[in-house]
């Protein structure tokens, strides 16, 4: 276990940014999002969740993957390579868990090599939470607010300094490169982390206790709820916008589109949302999900029933972004309780 005092962090960031693009939570006009590090950036490590999750580094909002040239009947195609290595500093445990969840889909046969390459080129330094937000419910999905097993390095904010623990090869390699900036954390560091982890987990469990729930029962509860009238009540206020899906760390649906400049162009994949009306609209006009009711139902069924039955993990990490940012407060925790998913 290592440690680094907070006033040395800019030095650490400079060093990290020399070998790879360093993304960390930066505040701009009051909005905290992951942005590349540059001298004097307004880094904010206190906000629990950035607005847009670090998913955008492994599944960018749009990424070109094919360059094409059409000339009369001739066609020539050329893949576009994935850009260079990057480091994510300050990803919260829920967001790191979310990346591990969508790994299961993208790395499953047939493997999505674009995603795989981006994952391999990335190193994730997670920062444990000290306090839960009111909208946090990661413990309901049996995740820990102060520990992320899937990160390459786990860090904890101890006030004056950060504790730093390498996990796995990438983490070890990175720790070795940053050796001169890191000191040994001493014997009682492990115990300090232990008590922090229990303290935060119990604080959030207490908060979620107010709801008093654990969501592990929601998959079975949803098995027979396809025609439940819960959906009729829920969908009516939905605006059909893409806020909940685009800021959700586990939402991964994408579209494939072409951009053309005369004879040349780029094919790219980009985020798409099941809440949009044209998500399943077919060319001949049929749409298996014609109204907002089917779309709102699909979003919850996919995260809490379909994804778990395919990959036996819920596609929700309890980060609470959708609860905070939905313009009409469609709240997944309310849905889980209403369908009887609380155990």
């Amino acid at each position: 276990m290592k440690k680094i005092s907070k006033d040395k962090l800019p030095q650490l960031w400079d060093r990290l940014a020399q070998q790879a693009t360093l993304y960390l939570p930066v505040e701009e006009d009051g909005v905290v999002n992951f942005a590349p590090w540059k001298e004097g950036a307004a880094v904010n490590l206190d906000v629990i969740n950035t607005v847009v999750p670090p998913k955008q580094m492994v599944l960018p909002q749009s990424e070109n993957y094919l360059h094409f040239r059409v000339d009369g009947g001739k066609l020539d195609l050329e893949p576009v390579d994935v850009d260079g290595p990057y480091v994510i500093f300050g990803a919260r445990p829920c967001d790191v868990a979310a990346i591990a969840i969508i790994d299961k889909l993208f790395l499953d046969e047939p493997c999505d090599t674009l995603y795989k390459e981006r994952r391999e080129k990335g190193t994730i330094i997670s920062l444990g939470c000290n306090e839960p937000e009111e909208t946090c419910f990661c413990t309901a999905f049996e995740l820990e607010p102060a520990f992320s097993p899937d990160a390459d390095v786990s860090a904890w904010d101890m006030g004056e300094y950060l504790l730093w623990k390498a996990q796995g090869e990438k983490g070890e390699a990175l720790t070795k490169k940053m050796e001169d900036l890191l000191e040994d954390a001493g014997a009682d560091a492990e115990k300090a982390v232990e008590s922090l982890r229990n303290n935060v987990a119990s604080k959030e469990a207490a908060a979620t206790k107010e709801y008093g729930w654990n969501a592990q029962g929601v998959k079975d509860a949803l098995e027979d709820k396809f025609d439940s009238e819960i959906w009729d009540k829920l969908y009516r206020r939905c605006l059909g916008c893409g806020v909940c899906t685009y800021i959700c760390p586990t939402c991964h649906c994408f579209d494939v589109q072409d951009f053309s400049r005369g004879q040349e162009g780029l094919r790219f994949r980009c985020w798409d949302s099941c809440m949009f009306g044209d998500f399943t609209l077919m060319a001949h006009g049929e749409n298996p999900r014609p109204t907002q009711k089917e779309r709102v139902r699909q979003r919850f069924m996919h995260k809490l029933l379909y994804y778990p039955s395919n990959f036996d993990v819920y596609a929700c990490v309890g980060c609470g972004r959708c609860v905070r940012k939905c313009p009409v407060s469609i709240d997944i925790t309310q849905v889980i309780k209403e369908v009887g998913g609380v155990k």
Binding site: N64, F259, R261, L266
Partner: protein, 145 residues
């Protein structure tokens, strides 16, 4: 290449939406009267100045136009009687808004040019080209892909 030389080497691309009944005819007249105006101008014929949708103007800037001109009949002469009255309001609102977004107002101009003002057509195209040449290429709004 010194800045001045570079500026001289820069050939601005001006997209002109010319209304079929007046300004486009004015352009024709300039041609048939052997008046010259800069080749930087690409004229697109539209039925009326009020047919110019702000999408056209923005798409032109996206695809690399350095200046956009909408040319229509003088108010009162419109073949569709009220077309240019609507255009005057809408393009005025658009021009001020583009300025608010940061695009230099000189890059988007509206001129009333009648079918008989071949000379004015040539003069306006000359002036606009020189003004835009002085301003330099338009990086703003351009789609860099």
């Amino acid at each position: 290449m010194s800045v001045n030389a570079e500026q001289q080497a820069f050939e601005p691309l001006i997209v002109v939406f010319g209304c079929n009944w007046c300004s486009y005819a004015g352009g024709d007249l300039a041609g048939t009267s052997r008046m010259t105006y800069p080749p930087n101008v690409r004229v697109i014929r539209v039925p009326c100045s009020s047919r110019v949708n702000p999408n056209f103007v923005l798409r032109a800037f996206q695809r690399g136009a350095d200046g956009v001109v909408v040319a229509g009949c003088h108010p009162g002469d419109c073949h569709y009687v009220t077309g240019n009255y609507y255009a005057r309001r809408r393009l005025s609102a658009l021009r001020r808004f583009l300025e608010f977004i940061g695009v230099e107002p000189e890059r988007f101009e509206v001129h009333w040019i009648s079918g008989s003002e071949g000379a004015k057509f040539a003069r306006v195209m000359e002036e606009v080209t020189e003004k835009i040449r002085a301003l330099g290429p338009n990086r703003k709004m351009r789609d860099v892909r």
